[in-house]
Amino acid sequence: MLRALIIGGGAMARTHAEIYRRLPAAAVVGVVDPDARGRRLAADLQVSYSESLSGVDWNAVDVAHVCVPTPWHRELVVEIAKQRKHILCEKPIARTLADAEAMIAACEQSDVRLMIGHCVRYFPEYVRAKELVDAGRIGRVAVARLFRGGSFPPSDTWRDWYANRNWSGGTSVDLMVHDFDFLRWVLGPVARVYAKSTYGESNRLELTLATLRFQSGAIAHVTGSWAHAGFGTRFELAGNLGLLEHDSFKAGTVFHEAAALPAREITQGVQVPGTHVHKSPYQLEIEDFLDAIVQDRPFSVTAHDALEALRIGLAVEQSALTGMPVDL
């Protein structure tokens, strides 16, 4: 039985923890969080609770899930690496490149596996798009358009941390990083970015429009929104031989009872997209994490991938702040 420690008490901590209910050979053994949310999560899961890592019995833990606000990823990962436990850390990898590099170095030094929760690589529509492009169905990709958007994260998250761009990175770093990772996966390295954002707006909304130019010559337009009402994602990839498009707002389901499900699962805190398939992308992600450790094979999405996605996100943020294109 693989034993997992959950660090955090918010929406993502709960999402990760609940996946373990479906895994026959793994279980959550404890929750670490200084906040009352964490205590409640531990109680709900009927597992041990600790306010900090110092209260953890590491002999009883095999893997750790870091599900805390971004700026705190580094110190937790570095500490857990010292305990020689493998780590699945939520995205974005960190708030700064220096933090990300330190996390990667610490894990390498301790010979510990580090995976970052770039779950979009497990969303079937994105997986299928990648497969179709690789199979040559649309030829050489010329222009991609991606949308990821919903409303501004509610204020009842821990210290309303999303609303503090110094912490969350805003839409460029927290939200669009999913699409930057996906595009890098499909289209290769990014050469430069140019972006505009509504930073500074006080109405609890944020919208970023980013243009990416790839080393290959391809172009992508990425919209990251915390200014829309209901959460959804869209993509369109246009190539010289065809085009593929997807719209989560229109991606229906064949299951009858799904008609009664809400379009999004609102857990306490951040909206987590509703799923349309048997195994949620989060389950696929966690199963892949655990399997890769057990089989001693590489992760499908590496910490290095996460670092590069962060680099793009930070460049987009910088461009939006300076009004100038940013080379990578």
Binding site: V143, Y194, N203, L209, T211, I219, T223, A227, P325
Partner: protein, 334 residues
């Protein structure tokens, strides 16, 4: 009876403009001039209208003209029509250089000849409703817009730089740039563009993403790509999303469609969108004819100056892509 002439059939919209005139009351086509005699005669035979090999003769017998020439030929047509005091509705883009556009606007102004642009998206009822919504403050202060005018690669003179002035960016910036200006009531002051020739390999730009900064602080992106191939169910689209402080509005001008799943002549399975929405060309020509007939300026049609402003955005985009940085627009002043 209002008498309308058509100058050139180089642009395929000549067909729909002619159909529009035939639908309207109290207006007739005096004739069609075409610099390409063979093409012109074929067009006239198909539509049963007189061919005119001499533009001056056609201008003599017309109250107004619809110009469907190549982009580079717009200037010649507009200057000749203006000189005769004939009212003008000209295809977009206005011209292939801002200098040409300025000469055209000034020529029409000096002659007192009404000069309008064929930018029909203003005549999609939904676009006008969206504009009213925005102007009434229903979504608060406007922050940003995202627009697309995707299309297929039209071939022919469109990909001959001497006649077109450019590819997709030249062809498909005007509609959305004009729509955006019309909706927010502000001009574009800065453009950044990524442009590529990557879809079609025809030696001219066929895709890109423009980022526009407006004088009033609104920012927008615009996608003019010829990214629809013959396998896509329709020629393209015109979409616009407007994000305000209290809401979002989205326009999909060609959304009214029936999906048709049927075999083509060669037995191949096809899926096509069959559009049944507003005939925007008809409403636009109707407004033009009304304006000509009444002698009153139209306040809904895009003017020659609007066309010039759209071209300034286009040219700034090309310059930005060349320089690799945002380009400030120095607006031409009459």
């Amino acid at each position: 009876m209002t008498r309308i002439g058509i100058l050139s059939t180089a642009h395929m919209h000549a067909h729909s403009y002619l159909s529009a005139i035939e639908t309207l009351q109290d207006v007739s086509v005096t004739g069609v001039y075409d610099e390409d005699t063979g093409r012109g005669r074929q067009f006239c035979a198909a539509h049963g209208v007189p061919f005119r090999g001499d533009m001056e003769a056609l201008l003599d017998e017309s109250d107004a003209v619809l110009i469907a020439a190549t982009n580079a030929d717009h200037r010649r047509c507009v200057e000749r029509a203006a000189a005769r005091g004939v009212a003008i509705l000209c295809e977009k883009p206005i011209a292939t250089s801002v200098a040409d556009a300025a000469a055209m606007v000034q020529a029409a102004e000096s002659a007192g000849a009404p000069f309008y642009m064929a930018l029909p998206v203003r005549f999609v009822r939904a676009a006008a409703e969206l504009r009213k919504f925005v102007r009434a403050g229903k979504i608060g202060r406007i922050l940003a817009m995202t627009g697309t005018n995707h299309g297929y690669m039209p071939g022919g003179w469109f990909i001959d730089r001497a006649a077109s002035g450019g590819g997709a960016v030249m062809d498909h910036t005007s509609h959305v740039a004009d729509l955006m200006r019309w909706i927010v009531g502000s001009d574009v002051v800065e453009v950044y563009a990524e442009i590529a020739e990557r879809v079609h390999n025809r030696g001219i730009d066929d895709c890109g993403i423009l980022t526009l900064g407006f004088a009033n602080g609104v920012f927008a992106t615009l996608d003019p790509s010829w990214s629809r191939l013959k396998t896509y169910p329709t020629w393209g689209d015109v979409t616009l999303e407007v994000v305000g402080t209290t809401g979002v509005l989205a326009l999909d001008a060609f959304a009214p469609r029936v999906h048709v799943y049927a075999e083509a002549e060669d037995g191949q399975a096809t899926h096509r969108y069959d559009y049944y929405g507003d005939d925007m060309d008809l409403w636009m020509v109707d407004e033009f004819v009304r304006s000509v007939r009444s002698g009153q300026r139209s306040d809904t049609l895009a003017t020659g100056l609007d066309g010039l402003r759209a071209l300034e955005v286009t040219m700034a985009a090309y310059e930005s892509a060349e320089r690799g940085r945002p380009v400030a627009i120095t607006p031409w002043q009459p």
